[in-house]
């Protein structure tokens, strides 16, 4: 339905752009005074008046209609005044399921009545939406047609609309950030009403497998974030141990030693490592790296877990290499020529210049790059979801399985997602922790990099 409405909107706006410009051309002919805007602007103006208000209204209607209809259905449900929000949403989801035709058991008469009510409301809403939108289109088209006149400054009007659209667009980024913060904080606060925040922040046990129904046999549940953070730290550390030396050394070779042809071939090849989707790395870690790590562990006499921290961390490290390499590359290239040449003039070899002059000078930039890479490792999801463990353990043994924040978020949210049990809400609390940690890392990193750039 809304698809046809959108098509109708686009079509009538298109038609109005031709009608408007035709009328502008007609009024121009034989007019005594010069027109202000070219006919195309009159056409565009008519199209905007026809389409845009109706389009905005359509979006608002679509966004709002479900919750309004829910409110109305629930309000008419017998005995709903005494129910809490959870029970209401349960009833509502049952009503919607039945209305969609997914009937598992014979619905009660109350539900049946609510379904009829829901369907009639949906019908009313659909008819009203079409009527209101058509009326808005018609009024807009009429006004847009009427306003065409030699003296009317159609170009200004169109440009103003475009400017408003651009301003709105640049606000989308802010709205996204606010949306992230709002959704994380809102759900996390709900979580903290069920699990005290101190237990979450300082608890040493993470066992989220709690009973969803009363008759299920499951653990008591413990939501202490420390072991999860610890596992994240271990895996990130392993990935950094792989990525930092490799990235910096390859950047040094590529900027200082390699000739142009070698660089032109190798640099894009390295960048491919960053372009491979993470789910591919995850599968590769499970398929190839984990068995290799396991046999490595056995050969040195250590019992290795099938999803060891080492396999996940090492593969993640390889993914991060090009990231560190290109940021170090930038930092090294930004060191002024004078410092390099001064060092050569004193008789230092290339290696000595790199180690004693270039690296110290580029250090802030490299550190910034490493911090950005660390933030990426902390937030990386698919590799660890597929290759790391599920059980939160406080261990530094790289052959053992540990879990990470992102693994827990994904495993807690795959499957059911009713927003009322601590298991689901815990994912949002973890998401908040992840967001804050990466935000701090990013801010420090961006600041270091920028400060360093200003220095030279």
């Amino acid at each position: 339905m809304s698809g046809y409405l959108l098509a109708a909107l686009a079509l009538s706006a298109l038609v109005m752009s031709f009608v408007g410009s035709a009328r502008a051309r007609a009024t121009q002919n034989g007019a005594s005074e010069k027109t202000h805007s070219r006919p195309i602007y009159h056409g565009l103006n008519a199209a905007i008046w026809t389409g845009v208000p109706a389009f905005i209204f359509l979006l608002l209607w679509l966004a709002g209609q479900n919750s309004v209809i829910n409110q109305l259905v629930i309000a008419s449900f017998p005995g709903s005044e005494s129910l809490d929000a959870t029970a209401r949403s349960l009833i509502m989801s049952e009503v919607r399921q039945v209305a969609a035709g997914n009937i598992f058991k014979e619905p009660t008469p109350e539900i049946q009545a609510a379904v009829t009510h829901l369907k009639s409301l949906q019908q009313i809403s659909a008819v009203a939406m079409v009527a209101v939108i058509s009326a808005m289109m018609a009024i807009g088209a009429f006004l847009g047609y009427k306003v065409v006149d030699n003296r009317f400054r159609a170009r200004h009007s169109v440009e103003r609309s475009v400017t408003y659209f651009m301003m709105f667009s640049s606000l989308v980024a802010i709205v996204t950030t606010l949306g992230i913060i709002a959704s994380l904080v809102f759900e996390a606060i709900q979580f903290f009403t069920k699990v005290p925040i101190t237990e979450f922040l300082f608890g040493l046990r993470w066992e989220p497998q709690i009973a969803i129904r009363a008759d299920q046999v499951a653990g008591q549940g413990a939501f202490g974030v420390i072991p999860v953070l610890f596992g994240t730290f271990v895996i990130s550390l392993i990935s950094m141990i792989v990525a930092v030396p490799t990235g910096i050394l390859s950047a040094i070779y590529l900027t200082e030693y390699a000739d142009k042809r070698f660089r032109a071939v190798v640099k894009p090849l390295l960048e491919i490592l960053a372009g491979v989707p993470t789910v591919v790395y995850g599968f590769f870690a499970v398929l190839t790296v984990a068995p290799a790590v396991r046999s490595l562990g056995l050969s040195i006499g250590i019992e290795s877990s099938p999803n060891s921290a080492l396999a996940a961390g090492a593969v993640m490290g390889v993914m991060i290499i090009p990231f560190i390499s290109s940021l170090s590359d930038d930092a090294l290239a930004a060191v002024p020529r004078a410092m390099r040449e001064g060092s050569f003039a004193l008789g230092a070899t290339k290696g000595e210049t790199i180690r004693k002059v270039l690296l110290p000078a580029a250090l802030p930039g490299i550190v910034g790059g490493v911090l950005l890479a660390l933030s990426r490792a902390v937030g990386e999801t698919m590799i660890v979801v597929m290759a790391a463990g599920l059980i939160a353990k406080m261990t530094v043994n790289p052959f053992d399985a540990v879990t990470t924040v992102t693994v827990q978020i994904v495993t807690l949210l795959i499957g059911d997602s009713e927003f009322d049990n601590p298991k689901t809400l815990a994912a949002f609390a973890l998401g908040l922790v992840l967001f804050i940690v990466t935000l701090i890392l990013n801010l420090i990193a961006l600041r270091t990099v920028r400060k360093y750039r200003e220095k030279y």
């Binding site: 640049s170 989308v172 996204t176 809102f186 070779y253 599968f283 290339k350 950005l372 902390v378 979801v385």
Partner: protein
């Protein structure tokens, strides 16, 4: 100063540069220099070697899934009692089994059951669907292609070895004998596996394909592009050309840079809470996937567009303004068209990134088990990367090579998109 004088003045400091000690020092210093080079080469070799192993092992496990062992069976439907008005209701199981039975004569009942296990268990449905699509097959003999079950396929491709003891493989000696009989009958072949591209997901590896995932990814990327492309360009133009330099603009800029570095799984949480929770949009829908991907690609797109707008020389701006264009006309008639190749390159590359993105799609439920391709942006669906995740989690042997094949398909799409981007850049980009 002559060279003799130079040597004189240095040796006057009391250091003999030609002594063995100094020679050894020089040697050590150059050795350190060479060591650094070697370390660099080792680092690059490690990274590129890893890449080679990655691609190599995926190709090695994946190429097998591009063929599928099938049996070509002739069935005479004129003798079967099929009501042409009601094709779906006929006893297809009986018909198919009857036709299969003739291939290996003289089987006991239990042998027969083992024999039917060699073929995909959906064989009756495949035959039924083929007849529904072409009812003229009812009048006489016609041939049907039936995929073999996963163990047989593995046996053919070497995933299961005949040398392994019988109790350790999923196909016993008797079944292997029956299979050899089928080969002797000349009905077994391994053609190219079109099902990999034209079938939707299935619990059975021999039937599972990527059609649902590819169209799900297509719809998501379409939504992503339709939203992020205009909004990204508009935002970039506003920030670059119109925005006053004040605190709000600074805030927006810092914000965009930070958003570009927010972990993708957080965008998944946003999508789950806002689009599914608060706005009540359908779960697993490519529409929501597209929304989330659009929010993720927007910051990168804005940054790329701003850079390309900045690179258009100011002489063009001034010339346009000089002949009386308004600021909007200057931007939309001159600056933006000139910046467009770079913007297109940037947006194709960010779309390619969005295509490979998995975690946010998992959180909004695009890892559902869906056996038909989605018919639009509201229908439940998977996407290529989430399909890879689902298959990677499936225990059947056949899914290992299917997963690798799906990865190869995904990588092929990525190479294609990046190739187009590079072509556009080299063909149309101007250097000022």
């Amino acid at each position: 100063m002559s060279s003799a004088a130079l040597t004189e003045s240095i040796s006057s400091t009391g250091v003999n540069w030609h002594s063995d000690e100094m020679k050894a020092r020089r040697k050590a210093r150059y050795a350190a220099d060479r060591r650094l080079q070697v370390y660099g080469i080792i680092a690059i070799t490690f990274a590129l070697g890893f890449l080679a192993i990655l691609v190599g092992s995926l190709t090695f496990t994946g190429y097998k899934a591009f063929t599928q062992t099938v049996a070509t069976i002739e069935i005479d439907l004129s003798t079967a009692k099929v009501d042409p008005a009601n094709i779906g209701e006929a006893d297809w199981r009986g018909i198919v089994r009857g036709a299969l039975r003739t291939q290996v004569p003289g089987m006991s009942r239990s042998d027969e059951r083992k024999f039917f296990e060699l073929f995909t268990s959906s064989a009756p449905f495949l035959v039924r669907d083929a007849v529904v699509a072409d009812p003229s097959r009812l009048t006489g003999k016609s041939t049907f292609t039936i995929p073999m079950a996963d163990p047989v396929d593995q046996l053919v491709k070497g995933g299961i070895s005949r040398d392994v003891p019988e109790n350790q493989r999923r196909i016993n000696n008797k079944q292997i004998g029956m299979y050899d009989q089928l080969v002797a009958n000349g009905i077994i072949s391994t053609p190219f596996n079109w099902g990999l591209f034209f079938n939707a997901d299935s619990r059975f590896p021999e039937l599972a394909g990527l059609a649902g995932a590819i169209s799900g990814s297509f719809w998501s990327l379409l939504v992503c592009f339709v939203i992020s492309f205009p909004i990204g360009i508009a935002a970039a133009i506003y920030l670059e050309e119109f925005a006053p330099k004040n605190k709000v603009t600074d805030l927006i800029e810092v914000n965009i840079n930070n958003l570009a570095a927010v972990p993708s799984v957080v965008f998944g949480l946003l999508g789950l809470a806002v689009f599914l929770g608060w706005l009540g949009l359908p779960r697993s829908a490519p529409l929501v996937g597209g929304f989330v991907l659009a929010l993720m690609t927007l910051p990168t797109l804005i940054i790329v567009t701003r850079v390309s707008l900045k690179s258009v020389p100011s002489s063009i701006r001034e010339a346009a303004l000089g002949v009386g264009a308004s600021k909007h006309e200057m931007i939309f008639h001159h600056i933006l068209p000139l910046a467009m190749p770079t913007v297109m390159t940037g947006s194709i590359i960010s779309l390619a990134r969005a295509l490979g993105e998995t975690a946010p799609l998992l959180l909004i439920g695009m890892n559902a088990f869906i056996t038909s391709p989605p018919e639009g942006v509201f229908a439940a669906s998977t996407a290529l990367p989430t399909q890879i995740y689902i298959w990677a989690d499936s225990p059947e042997r056949g899914f290992v090579s299917r997963t690798s094949a799906a990865i190869l398909v995904l990588l092929a799409f990525l190479v294609l998109m990046n190739g187009i981007a590079i072509y556009l850049r080299q063909r149309f980009e101007r250097r000022w």
